[in-house]
């Protein structure tokens, strides 16, 4: 029985802890300074909007941890000493470990803007961020959000739910155009505007102006426009939270460097989740992936390694999802913002402007590469299988109805999509015989 210390009680650390417990009798201690218990960070916005209380965001009842013999400690790790195999806590305590798992997550990016440390200027990542956002919201009439990504749009939705006006500054040509192809980015931009967000595209933050009492009172854009506001949301991405490892022997670059077994350069020290940077490449994927699902998968994998069954982190086909106000988004495989040379595409958009699908495949081999879907739910299992089996675009289009995951009675669009596909792409040798079947 070894003593395993896990830093961080987010999805990565907790998944590792749970799966280690399932597979072993090791002593597990999870240290976090954020909250007493694991909660779903993804639900922070819903607490603010009053859809849920903090209590509802905890996936496991408080008694779960004791029942499963996972010890929890609320404290902050300030230093890791790999020589003496110990961590030093803010409370002054020192805790020894046999194995250390670092799952310390991210911190919000700040790019050195003047005024970025004023009150009322922040990102949204942690529970603490939510609390400060709550505090500064009370006097906020307008908020400026910097950054057109997933957290930015969440923040916009949050403020609107409290009748706070929102200006959203986006560097790209359209919202999230660094990830989404232009068609979809335009669709979402339109949708954002329909919710009365003042969306400023191709606009960046120049500086934040204080009110003389340490609180933000406005911003200036790179186009020299002054916008009065009481809150500035900085949602320009997150970076691995590795400050506390400075001075330790653990090798880091932008994140904690790990190999395919999630091992760091130090024996018995592992890292996973948002805070890691893979030393090895995975095709089509960034070396730092700050996504809920990758954190969860790494946790599952690492638990096996820790319990003696060495397992590589080799995630299957990429997938992700999000919700932009009322439009749900899912993606399977890789749809790049700009079509690559070897790629061909088909984009379908429904007349309502809130449903769309974007297919990408290889020009020559016709192998299906990826899909973005908006307003229509698709079955993960189907696409995971089709991507693994390297199915052709023709196969995917033909079998699209099978992958539909919309609730019963929802209007089905496969027929329209297939017709348009035939018209735009041509019939080639495909036989599109299977039409949407009724379940």
């Amino acid at each position: 029985m070894k003593k395993i210390v896990i830093i961080g009680n987010g999805i990565s650390g907790i998944t590792a802890a749970r799966h280690i417990r399932k597979r072993s009798n090791h002593h597990i201690l999870v240290i976090s300074s954020e909250t007493n218990h694991f909660f779903a960070r993804t639900a922070l916005m819903y607490i603010y909007m009053g859809h849920m209380k903090y209590e509802h965001t905890k996936p496991y009842e408080d008694g779960f941890w004791k029942t499963n013999k996972i010890d929890l400690l609320k404290d902050h790790v300030e230093q890791v000493d790999t020589d003496s195999k110990s961590v030093h806590l803010k409370s002054g305590d020192k805790i020894n470990y046999d194995m250390l798992i670092i799952a310390s997550g991210s911190t919000s990016n700040k790019f050195g803007w003047p005024g970025q440390d004023l009150k009322g200027v922040q990102g949204l990542y942690s529970y603490r961020d939510l609390q400060t956002m709550e505090i500064y919201s009370t006097e906020t009439k307008r908020a400026v959000i910097v950054g057109g990504g997933l957290i930015g749009i969440e923040m916009a939705e949050m403020f609107l739910s409290r009748n706070i006006e929102v200006t959203l500054l986006v560097r790209e040509k359209e919202f999230w155009n660094n990830v989404l192809p232009l068609q979809e980015a335009e669709l979402i931009s339109k949708h954002i505007r329909s919710h009365h967000v003042d969306l400023k595209l191709e606009t960046e933050l120049k500086e934040i102006i204080g009110d003389g009492n340490g609180r933000a009172k406005g911003i200036v854009t790179d186009k020299e426009e002054n916008i009065e506001c009481q809150f500035v949301g900085l949602t320009v991405g997150v970076s691995p939270n590795i400050q506390f490892l400075k001075g330790s022997k653990i090798e880091t670059k932008r994140g904690i460097l790990v190999n395919e077994f999630l091992e760091t350069n130090i024996v018995d020290v592992y890292a996973l989740g948002d805070c890691v940077e893979r030393k090895y490449e995975l095709p089509g994927r960034s070396n730092i992936e700050q996504v809920w699902y990758t954190g969860r998968m790494m946790g599952e994998v690492l638990a096996q390694t820790v319990c003696g069954r060495k397992t590589k982190y080799e995630p299957g086909p990429w997938f992700n999802s999000a919700k932009f106000f009322d439009v749900e988004y899912q993606t399977y495989g890789i749809v790049s913002p700009a079509l690559k040379e070897n790629e061909e595409e088909f984009y379908w958009e429904h007349a309502s402007g809130v449903k769309a699908m974007h297919f990408v495949w290889d020009k020559t081999s016709k192998q299906f590469i990826g899909i973005n879907t908006f307003g229509i739910r698709l079955r993960h299992e189907c696409f995971d299988k089709w991507l693994r089996e390297k199915k052709s675009i023709d196969f995917v289009i033909t079998h699209l109805a099978e992958a539909n995951f919309d609730p019963e009675f929802f209007t089905r669009h496969e027929f329209e999509i297939i017709e348009q596909f035939k018209m735009k792409i041509g019939n080639r040798q495909i036989v599109i015989g299977i039409l949407p079947t009724k379940k």
Binding site: I11, K22, A40, T42, A43, Y46, M49, G50, H51, M52, K53, H56, T57, K58, P59, E61, S161, S194, H195, W292, Y293, R296, M297, E300, V301, Q304, T311, K312, Y313, E314, P315, G316, F319, S321, A322, K323, F325, D326, E328, Q330, R377, L378, R379, H380, E381, D384, F405, D406, P407, E408, F409, F410, T411, K439
Partner: protein
């Protein structure tokens, strides 16, 4: 938009205030004509009138005074009849003296001599109530006297009161019908005007409050629910719950205090079935209106989901047509009252002898109704649950479900999701199912054998206990009154025996399940929070496991509120329904444990 909403709120509160106030807005004048009409036994009416001289043709300003005076009159009437007809101590002594070792009923004839009413009654009653004494021997005269006294007491408490006085059921009915007939109020003078000022204003106000939501873009808008004093068990929610509980208790146990409310809907009842409204007509009318108005709200809130639109339309239709209009029209046509969608054991009185006899006596239609009701139990429930899940009933057809899904929708997030609550739920709901089966077995036994004693209980007593505690207390008072306190499905989840039956079929033999979408769950908790049945949906979703739970009513809200498209209500082959958790993620990692 804001002004229209505020106006709506003001109108609703005004209408609601007038509605509540109207209960007290009457004076009462009892005339001999009313008494004679309502007390059908002319001798009892006579007796009542003799004792009611203080009340007759006198104006009483409040229903509290009026009812308490009625109580006194009934009490006096019973007392005077008891004095007149009770077997005296002297007569008991005589009876005892006339019997030495073995008791003979014939001795009564010596004691109760004469052909006057009193003597005849005493003789007959003594023989009926004391029949078991025949041939018994007693160790002493004292012992005999004790038994005789018992017989005399029973005659006093039951025989005399039933035959010559007013028993408690009759008193309850009479208090209500006398109060309703005697009341003089603006409501009675202008019922149509008052329907408008109460129910009408409430409906208009509610719609004005609800309709502006159409201006918001379609989609889930649960903003501010947990800051809301109505929807988060704060003062307004607690107040609303208290009002509902009080309303139910008064409706069932003290209807004599709300006769004005019933008078209010007389015109509707006259129009529909050409009869004055009863208190349950008032209840049914309000119930249906709540489902309709709040159904509009539900439809607006979930208008992006065709599933929710159709489902809500369905509960609105079944309540209006099946639960409200058709039974009333049947009555107008002089046919038996029958709700074609109500199923035993939710409809726990279905096998009561009075109802079966009534149906059997009503000819072909009555027999058809009886057959229909039984077919629902043994054919429709298992077959439809197999193909669609229990939702076909619980969230598409049922009246309780209909109210929960419309009026109760604002409170769905208040259900308890803990494992402990789940445990309590299983014990309670199946306990009620067993209770209802045992109770009904007793009822049927009594119907065939005419004997009220079944196994170890009195079937009449048991059905009364069931009716009071489950039928009224649980389904009514707790079922609706607890909406703002414990969520909108307290009855369905913890108490409904039909839901338990449907649930057993759903759990073990059905094509229905909620599927989860691979690895897409982000554990946010919206699904669990908005599950009205308190199912911790997330627990399954985040491990990629099908949700197969007996309690799931298939409302589909978990799927609607999921921001990542993870949950879907599906019917397909039974194979793999109880599949192991599948999380799509890393190659070569299996999670099945």
């Amino acid at each position: 938009m804001k002004y229209i909403k505020t106006l709506g709120l003001i109108l609703f509160i005004t209408g609601f205030a007038i509605f509540n106030f109207s209960f007290f807005w009457a004076s009462y004048t009892l005339t001999p004509e009313i008494a004679k009409e309502k007390i059908t036994d002319s001798r009892k009416a006579e007796l009542f009138l003799q004792l009611a001289t203080d009340l007759i043709n006198q104006r009483t300003a409040s229903n509290f005074t009026f009812v308490s005076q009625l109580n006194k009159i009934f009490e006096n009437a019973n007392e005077s009849q008891v004095t007149k007809f009770a077997i005296t101590a002297h007569e008991l002594d005589q009876l005892a003296a006339n019997n030495d070792k073995k008791f003979s009923l014939a001795s009564a004839d010596f004691v109760f001599k004469g052909t006057d009413e009193v003597a005849l009654f005493k003789a007959k009653a003594f023989k009926d109530y004391g029949s078991w004494l025949e041939g018994q021997s007693f160790s002493s005269q004292d012992e005999l006297k004790k038994q005789l006294q018992n017989v005399a007491d029973n005659i006093k408490n039951y025989g005399i009161v039933n035959q010559f006085g007013f028993d408690r059921y009759q008193i309850k009915d009479l208090k209500y019908s006398l109060a309703k007939a005697s009341s003089l109020s603006p409501v009675k003078d202008n019922p149509v005007l008052f329907i408008f000022l109460t129910i009408g204003l409430c409906i208009i106000g509610a719609l004005l409050y609800i309709l502006p939501k159409l201006q918001l873009p379609p989609g889930i808008k649960n903003n501010g629910i947990f800051f809301n004093v109505m929807k988060n068990v704060q003062w307004l929610g607690i107040l609303t719950g208290t009002w509902l509980i009080a309303f139910y208790i008064i409706l069932y146990f003290y209807p004599e205090y709300i006769t004005n409310g019933v008078t209010l809907v007389d015109p509707v009842s006259m129009w529909l079935k050409n009869q004055e409204a009863g208190r349950f007509f008032l209840y049914g009318f309000l119930y249906t209106l709540c489902i309709l108005v709040m159904g509009v709200r539900m439809m607006i809130n979930y208008r992006h989901s065709k599933y929710q639109l159709l489902r809500t339309a369905s509960v609105m239709f079944f309540q209006t047509a099946f639960a409200f209009l058709i039974p009333e029209i049947l009555i107008r046509l002089n046919k038996p009252y029958f709700d074609f969608k109500n199923i035993w054991p939710l409809d726990y009185g279905f096998f009561f002898d009075s109802r079966i006899s009534h149906l059997v006596d009503s000819g072909t239609l009555g027999i058809f109704m009886l057959g229909w009701g039984i077919a629902l139990i043994i054919v429709a429930v298992p077959v439809l649950v197999y193909f669609f899940g229990k939702r076909w009933y619980c969230s598409w057809v049922c009246g309780c479900g209909g109210l929960a899904e419309t009026l109760g929708d604002p409170y769905r997030q208040l259900s308890d999701k803990t494992v402990k609550a789940w445990k309590v739920e299983r014990w309670m709901v199946h306990g009620v199912l067993v209770f209802s089966v045992v109770m009904t077995a007793g009822v049927i036994y009594t119907y065939w054998t005419k004997s009220s004693w079944f196994l170890f209980f009195d079937s009449y007593k048991l059905r009364e206990v069931y009716g009071a505690f489950i039928g009224i207390g649980f389904a009514g008072v707790v079922g609706t009154g607890f909406y703002p306190l414990m969520g909108n499905r307290v009855w369905c989840r913890f108490g409904c025996p039909l839901a338990a039956y449907l649930g057993l079929v759903q759990r073990f033999k059905s094509r229905f399940r909620i599927t989860t979408n691979g690895g897409q769950c982000i554990s946010c908790g919206n699904c669990s929070t908005y599950c009205e049945m308190g199912i911790d949906v997330r627990w399954y979703a985040q491990r990629g496991q099908n949700i197969v739970r007996s309690s799931c009513v298939g409302c589909g809200v978990c799927s609607s509120v999921c921001p990542r498209g993870v949950l879907n209500l599906e019917v397909k082959g039974e194979e793999g329904r109880f599949g192991k958790p599948i999380l799509i993620g890393n190659n070569g990692v299996t999670l099945a444990e």
